[in-house]
Amino acid sequence: MSQDQQQKAGPEFLLGAWMKTATDFWGSMTEMWQSTLATQQKSTSSQKNAKARPQELWDASFNIWQTMVSAYSTPETMDAAARGMHALPEIVLRMAKTGWEGYFHLQQQWLEKAGTIGSRTEAYKFEDLDRDTFRAWLEIYQKDFGQFLNIPQLGLTRSYQERINRAVDKFNLFQVEAAEFLYLFYLPLEKSLRVMGENFQELSQEGNLSDNFKDYYNMWIKILEGHYMTLFKSPEYTLALSKAINSAEDFIDARQELLADGLKALHIPTDKDMDELYKELYLLKKKVKALEKKVDNR
């Protein structure tokens, strides 16, 4: 493709061509409209004063358009606009690249971890659990996806949009924390089965295998209970539990704020409105009860 052809296919060339065509079209349309209007005014003198408010408006708008087109036609402006237009796909591409990189990184982490799940910790030991998968997912979400939800919103609906984004963001964070908590909660099940396997082996070697299923069940439930007790006392579990509860509460809070917008539109009092009322009622009742007691004691 020659340089001339490349230029002709570029966005600045297309924009310039479109502006010229649009100006030509609306210019001829205006002329037509003016001539029609002039004929009408001749026939109805009573409408003389009403002339042309729409026409004046149109004229003003068209003049602005023409000024803009002529301003754009200067080589400097065209160059600046073209640079912006060239940059746009680049920005989009960069955004997509960041997202994909994050996704691939996560996938890579998953693949690495998938093979090792269950073999990372020893039975009855829950220290130093490898929870990198969830941390990686959280990090990627916060760095690559979550930040888009925190872009400041503009205009009249700004606060509403921000509340929607906040609810979505908190929901996503809750999903990650809940997944980590559930993973930890599942570990004792997995470990208890492994210990059961070892017990089977021992019993088999000793020739003490029972033919009563209930014996195995009792053995398993006892092992499971022990594993849970060990897990529950580990700092990792306490941390995961409190994070899961906190993130659930953050999401519920954000959801309530969002719902409150809907309730307000329907003229239904929100929790916040009711809480204010309840507080006043509480203080009032407390005061009355204290006074009542004072009177009774006299």
């Binding site: 909660f185 004792p188 396997g197 070892e198 089977f200 082996q201 019993l203 088999s204 070697q205 295998l209 033919d211 009563n212 299923f213 069940y217 439930i221 499971l224 209970e225 849970y228 007790m229 529950f232 006392k233 306490t238 941390l239 539990l241 409190s242 509860i245 906190n246 509460e249 953050d250 519920i252 809070d253 309530q256 929790d271 009711m274 809480d275 309840y278 507080k279 009622l281 509480y282 407390k286 009860k289």
Partner: protein, 397 residues
């Protein structure tokens, strides 16, 4: 790992043997589940004698005679309901107390709604509890009443006894946490880092369902698996099913806990352990355990995973009274009230202890009156011997 052989053939043979039994159980189970089941709880008749907001006070008249002279007020926790003390006929602490001749009052806290979120520990202790105590004292024409607290209700009772010692004759605490600085109970570990401000901000009150989830997570193997396996094994046993359903009804009947009360309980007790250090403030007054000068009976469970012995046993050493007794029963948190073995121990022990305190009081009163009489006699004798002195005394009066 070397190969091992599970006797699948023998297990399968056993399963086949059991097949007939399983079929019979299934048939009976459908009869049991589809037939009428008596699963009512809290059936002992009582009279509602006082109401305030969501609170009701029930009075139970004693069945047996020769009980303690002073009525006993039971204060249950705000978590779960007091129906646990009256689960079923023959397994009811309330009925056992009545048989022991105890004149019984019990507070029912009811179900807090969002409007109750601002109620504090002060409102419960210096408000509701004090009003109830005043009501009973007035109704029975007494200056003091016996007070018994259960779990968190016990903590409230300890606070009440420290703030109003003049109104409490004897104090009984059962599975009552007062020392929160222990790593033995999982709740004590988990609540240390619990963000209670966030919870109260989000929910207003602490939801009963959330508390239930936390309790289930304390022992999921037993509470979420084994319990229901046991139910399935006994599903053809009508009495077992009825008892199981009663317990199930009680466990999942969980009122919310008023937000501000929960916030203070977690922060002052679980996170800062202020009560046992005499640093907790309720209604602007410091709770000084040394002011608890009445006799104290402190009962707790050796295998209690919610309120371990370490959380209970320190109390008797920290209060002002010298008449204290610790009893550690070989059971868990709920077992104290519902296990057949403890049913036979708990109520008779409490009744006996209260009656002994009556006797000690009678003895003390008799000694006091004897001393008074002898003092009067001595004074009269002195007056006879020295009329001038009498005159002087008379002048002084």
């Amino acid at each position: 790992m070397s190969q091992f052989k599970i006797p699948v053939d023998r297990i399968l043979a056993k399963v086949a043997e059991d097949a007939e039994r399983v079929r019979t159980i299934s048939e009976k189970a459908s009869d049991v589940l589809l037939g009428p089941l008596d699963t009512d709880i809290s059936t002992t008749p009582g009279e509602v004698v006082y109401r305030e907001d969501r609170l009701t006070l029930k009075h139970y008249a004693p069945i047996g005679g020769d009980g303690p002279k002073t009525p006993l007020l039971i204060v249950y926790a705000l978590i779960n309901r007091e129906t646990m003390l009256d689960l079923q006929p023959g397994r009811s602490v309330v009925q056992n107390f009545l048989k022991e001749g105890i004149d019984l009052y019990m507070i029912e806290w009811g179900y807090p709604t969002r409007k109750d979120r601002y109620l504090t520990i002060d409102d419960h202790v210096n408000g509701y509890m004090d009003n109830v105590m005043d009501f009973i004292r007035q109704r029975q024409n007494l200056s003091k009443v016996n007070l018994m607290g259960v779990c968190m209700g016990g903590t409230f009772s300890v606070i009440y006894a420290a703030l109003h010692p003049e109104k409490v004759k004897n104090l009984i605490t059962t599975v009552t946490p007062t020392n929160f600085d222990t790593e033995k109970g999982l709740l004590h570990i988990w609540f240390k880092d619990f963000d209670v401000d966030r919870t109260v901000k989000t929910f207003g009150n602490m939801p009963g369902d959330l508390l239930n989830i936390i309790f289930l997570l304390l022992n999921p193997a037993r509470l979420m698996i084994d319990k229901y396996v046991g139910f399935l094994e006994n599903i053809d046993n009508k009495v077992f099913v009825e008892n199981f359903m009663r317990m199930e009804k009680w466990i999942f009947d969980s009122p919310d806990v008023p937000g501000e009360t929960f916030r203070q309980f977690i922060k002052d007790c679980y996170q800062n352990n202020l009560l046992i250090k005499n640093k907790m403030e309720v209604g602007g007054t410091r709770v000084d355990l040394k002011k608890i000068t009445m006799p104290l009976l402190n009962i707790y469970g050796r295998f209690d995973h919610l309120v371990p012995p370490e959380a209970c046993e320190l109390l008797t050493r920290k209060i002002g009274s010298k008449d204290t007794e610790d009893i550690c029963l070989d059971t868990g948190h709920i077992g104290i009230y519902v296990s057949s073995k403890c049913q036979k121990e708990l109520s008779p022990k409490i009744a006996r202890w209260l009656k002994e305190r009556d006797k000690i009081e009678q003895k003390a009163e008799a000694t006091k009156s004897r001393a008074k009489k002898s003092n009067d006699k001595k004074s009269k004798a002195r007056a006879k011997a020295s009329p001038r002195k009498k005159k002087k005394a008379g002048n002084q009066i």
